[in-house]
């Protein structure tokens, strides 16, 4: 009895204020939603609907009846499993090499005075202004049998026979690392710039060596940027088409190449969609596992 009567006692006046507040809140939310609407609409129309459509197609056979035919084929033919393995191996290798090259580079840039760092950043960003196709062709010109690297290497007496530098996994990795590096360096550099230098100074004032300070203070703080960059690179690699097609010499078959092949061969969007769905599913699993792992590692490593 008591609670109800109290609410009633607050009377119409209290309700009025509450309702007005709620109205205001709604208006604000609607306004914000309105701002997001164009982007949301674009994502729904250009991304979610086609993806749902492809998803549906992958479960239908040629006649349009429900069927697991496309998934069964993937299990029956060993080449599909190998294609997925290659895709993840190449993507992982590219990500690791990018980290090994990109982390020291980003660290170096973050320690430079801003002006100098900005100039160097232009050098990092410069490749973005050139088309991906052109950059991939450039590697072909450099690395092929009669390419610059081989002719100079032989002229300088470093090796006698032309080396097989391209049309294999190695050439593909070179091209992919080159294209992916900025995607790792940019978020990493941003994170490193934001790390307060006083923290490192505090560390050394408490008796830490520079190396120890780096590993216990700087490195853990840079991890979010590294994780963002690395996952960006990894995911972009999974869908790569042009570079492996051109530099892999047909020996590096990534899922996207296989999708193109299946569309040409079977005239069949279902077979291709099934590949896309499986790639998406595996990618999600890998990313969730990676996020779990890194969270665990973060708790373990940072200790604060």
């Amino acid at each position: 009895m008591s609670a109800e009567s109290v609410a009633a006692a607050a009377g119409p006046d209290g309700d009025f204020h509450k309702a007005a507040l709620r109205r205001d809140q709604w208006r604000e939310r609607l306004g914000l939603a309105g701002l997001a609407a164009p982007a949301l609409l674009l994502v729904i129309v250009a991304m979610l609907i086609p993806m749902a459509w492809l998803f549906g197609l992958s479960f239908r056979d040629d006649a349009g009846a429900l069927s697991l035919e496309h998934y069964r084929r993937m299990l029956a033919e060993p080449s599909y499993g190998r294609t997925f393995r290659t895709t993840f191996e190449i993507s992982l290798a590219t990500t690791i090499i990018c980290i090994l090259i990109g982390y020291p580079l980003a660290y170096f840039l973050s320690q430079l005075p801003r002006r100098a760092a900005n100039l160097c950043m232009i050098a990092v960003l410069l490749p973005f202004w050139t088309s991906l196709l052109v950059r991939t062709y450039a590697w072909l010109v450099l690395l092929q049998r009669s390419g610059l690297v081989n002719t100079w290497g032989i002229k300088l007496g470093l090796w006698n026979e032309p080396l097989q530098l391209v049309h294999n996994a190695g050439g593909t990795l070179i091209g992919m690392v080159h294209i992916m590096l900025p995607f790792l360096v940019l978020p990493l550099y941003g994170t490193m710039r934001a790390i307060d230098g006083n923290l490192l100074r505090a560390a050394s004032s408490l008796g830490s060596t520079p190396v120890h300070g780096f590993w216990t203070v700087f490195f853990p703080l840079s991890l979010p940027g590294l994780a963002a960059g690395a996952s960006l690179v990894f995911v972009l690699c999974l869908g790569f088409y042009v570079t492996p097609a051109m530099l892999g010499g047909g020996k590096v078959t990534m899922v996207s190449n296989r999708i193109a092949n299946d569309i040409e061969l079977f005239f069949n969007w279902g077979a291709a969609s099934a590949l896309g769905v499986v790639l998406l599913a595996i990618t999600l699993v890998v990313l969730v596992l990676a996020a779990k792992l890194s969270r665990g590692a973060g708790l373990f490593g940072s200790g604060h």
């Binding site: 010499g249 078959t253 296989r258």
Partner: protein, 351 residues
Amino acid sequence: MPRQPIVKSTTALALVMGLLSAAPALAQELTVVSFGGSYQEGQSKALFQPAAKALGIKIKEETYSSIADLRLKVKAGAVTWDVVASGSGSAARAGSEGILEKLDYKVIDTSSFLPGTAQDYCVGGDVFSTVLAWNTKTYGDKGPQSWADFWDVKKFPGKRSYRKGVAGALEPALMADGVPADKVYKVLSQPGGIERAIKKIRELKPHIAVWWSSGAQHAQLMKDGEVDMITGWNGRFDVAAKDGAKVAYTFNQGLADYDCFAIPKGAPNKDLAMKFLAEISKPQYQAEFTKYITYGPTNKKAYEGGAIDAAYAKTLPSHPDNAAKQLPIDLDWYIKFEAQASAAYQNMLTE
């Protein structure tokens, strides 16, 4: 003074508008689709435009990338194309799938066509050949002359390049394995035939530096001297050689194939499209087309009457001297076995 021209131009405008609105009733329009590039440019100049003129119709040209595009259009019931250019194999499969109209050979005269180049759903336009080509800098005049030579890495050391897709990849392997040309498809149709060919390719795999996937790519590989021996389409090598590539090829044991024209199921102007195909299948059109690319006519009569220069005719894949050296692609085999063969081929590639 300034008034008069305005009046004149408005009357002129009205006149033009009247003509424009009357035009569709006067001239019918056909939409023709091909693969673009220098190939379609040649088709346009040699076939489409002259035929349109002769029939008093208008031609609208579009480009597409593969039959998969057409399949979508037909399935969606939104066919806007009247005539499509296609590879013979794709057309045969598309025909068996029911997305092409049956051609009326009472309208299209193919009595002087090369045998096999007029299918139910697709009429041949030009003949090309998958040939064995080599780097003349590596082998000089003593290049390989047969698929057995292509496989002989002792006699002809050097890097090879082979096709990444299965089309035209198994036949050379069997010929290298000692199967006579006329028995190739018989062996391939028997159980174990595909495996035999793939085993032979597996043998050569360590020497295959590049698995090519497009005509542009195999031409570029020879231009760059990236490999010493390669399979590929003859016309591309001729263009590459013209650009200075050190490349020569032989029609010996080549695989003769052809491009063709088809009418999509539910084409808006089916009857007119049929007449159009009849027109461009005439020998004078086909003879004209050879001036743009070294692909040969499917209509044997194109070789008669001197429309094609005699010396030049000898370089075309469908010239009788060359045709005799080649094995024609068996489309029925591809319809039946391509999916199965491709799966096995991909397994071998990814091993």
